[in-house]
Amino acid sequence: MSRRRLTAALTAGALVLGLAGCAVPHRRGDGPIEKVAATREQVTAIYERYREVRNAAVELLDPTPLSTVETGPVLAVDTGSFVVSQKLKRSGEEDKGPIDVTRVETPRFSAYPLWIFAVVRDSERDIQRLQIFERARAVDPWLLVATPEALATTKIPSLRHNGGGQAIVVKPSDERGMSMSAQAAADAYARVLTDPTAVADAGITEDAFVRQMADVATKNGLLDGVQFEQSWAAEKVEHVVRTSDGGALAFVTLLRRDRYTVPVDRKITWPAGSPQQALLEDGIQGTTATLNYYHQIVVYLPGGTAKPRAIAQFGGVVQGEAG
């Protein structure tokens, strides 16, 4: 067959295949019923809406609108900071700079809730935020549920992806290929933070977050004549993704309770302008008071037997109870 004839035959074949392949109806197989959490356009819309609402709240010095874009500990911490700002009559700063979303991961889900993981760089503060936006139900909006911060230089482990390019979600109880499961790591952090001597048996690293919290507890415990107790509890872990080394990145929320029992002849006050001072304006004297904090950390569980460690954190006081 000559070259021209072969070319003509191939062209005709390609034409037939082209026509045949162009939107030829066919039946789907029995694959899983799943969906990608969000499209790129939806992620852009999520961030634009978030920033718009947050800036409006900052401008009004009113945390109320935040409930349409945030929930859980993030909303609690932000609301607390707004309350502090209101009491101190201090205005916040609007976020008008460009959104620098450096990474977006949209896993596949077979049921709600859906969530996405994104890394956002804050050039002004030279940090990066590891954020989770979640849609709890089909009728709900996308809400920010976690936003731990890491230094801009912190290396975020690369993630493993499926054939479709989506990040792979890990069950919080799954410990395959790691020294422990994400939920076990969260519980270990709560145990070690409550009792720093347990770090050897807990199987986690005494990282910067553990040391920082231990220092704060130690200082509070040194207040003369004041009985100080601190307890930590881990909430149920919900957002875990597989890293490329077979490990996982887990978003962990910890509740911290600082309880002060102060005799009548003693008084505890906090520096002016601090959230604690805003929540307990008169300080604590002759009574017991509790300050509740939320801390969110991103725990990296390396593949293999290495110990988990926190690579990002975020938190603040959310409630003060006197009496």
Partner: protein, 320 residues
Amino acid sequence: MRRSILGWALTVLGLCVALLGLALAVLLGPDGRRTTGPHEIETDGSVVVTAPRVIRWVDVRVDILVEVPVKKPVFVGLGNTVDVENLVDDVRRVEVTRFSAPWKLTTVDREGERSAVQAAPTSLDWWLADAAGLGGASISTTLPDEPVSLAITSIGSSNLSGLKVSLAYGIKGGFLKGLGLLLIGAGGALGGRMLRRGEHVFRDDDGADEVVYVYVDDDGVEHQLTEAEVVAGGFDVIEEEVEPGDVVADGERDTAAPVPAGEDEDGQGAENGAEPELQVGSAPTYVWIDDDGVEHELSEAELAELADDEYEIVDEEDDR
């Protein structure tokens, strides 16, 4: 043998494609789709939804029209099954558990804590296609390659009693695509037939069609003529020459030497001493061009005789 097998394969493939195209065009008609309805769906609730995996087709163009009486507000939407299932999860509803074309439904009444979906369906951003209206709404979309479900809901406090659904499904531009396949298939079948018979579908050389007419006068001088001059002069073709490498089908003439009409072709043939025949790789021809630009053909002997005095070979042409 190989050509025969290829020819048969091409013929069969062409016929299959042609039949497919014909069936497509006939089945879908000029508008490229089949239409059915309106069909009534009995319900006094506010939600009708297809169960997971009921809609399995991909790349099918669907047009869905839902109608309710007395201009009640109604919504129709197509969404990923994960979204739709979550939307209607705890809602009392009619669920279509089986559907076969053109219109055969199996439905089940599902119980739920709520009588209606929790949010206005029009406010949700995940619909792949959706529409709302008073008394009716319609969507037109192509089924994507992902699990999808169809939901019909009332809006506000109304219900879906008296619901009627019309459905059209097909392929976008299906009729033209069918005709295209028919033509391509027919062409393939024809090509296969020609291949089996050894006929040439395509020529190998673009220049093979060029015909040159040359008139040789009594002095042996060649004059090139156009086809019009040949016709006008009433010349007859008495000799054909084919350039080496050309393939000439039966009845085709590539190079012809005409003679004036009326001259006996047989006699001319006798004068030349031979019938016209293909000459491939003939001996070199020596031509002398005089001052007037007229060419004079010389034999090799004449050339040898005069070469010492007046002639020299100034140009050699290889016409292969």
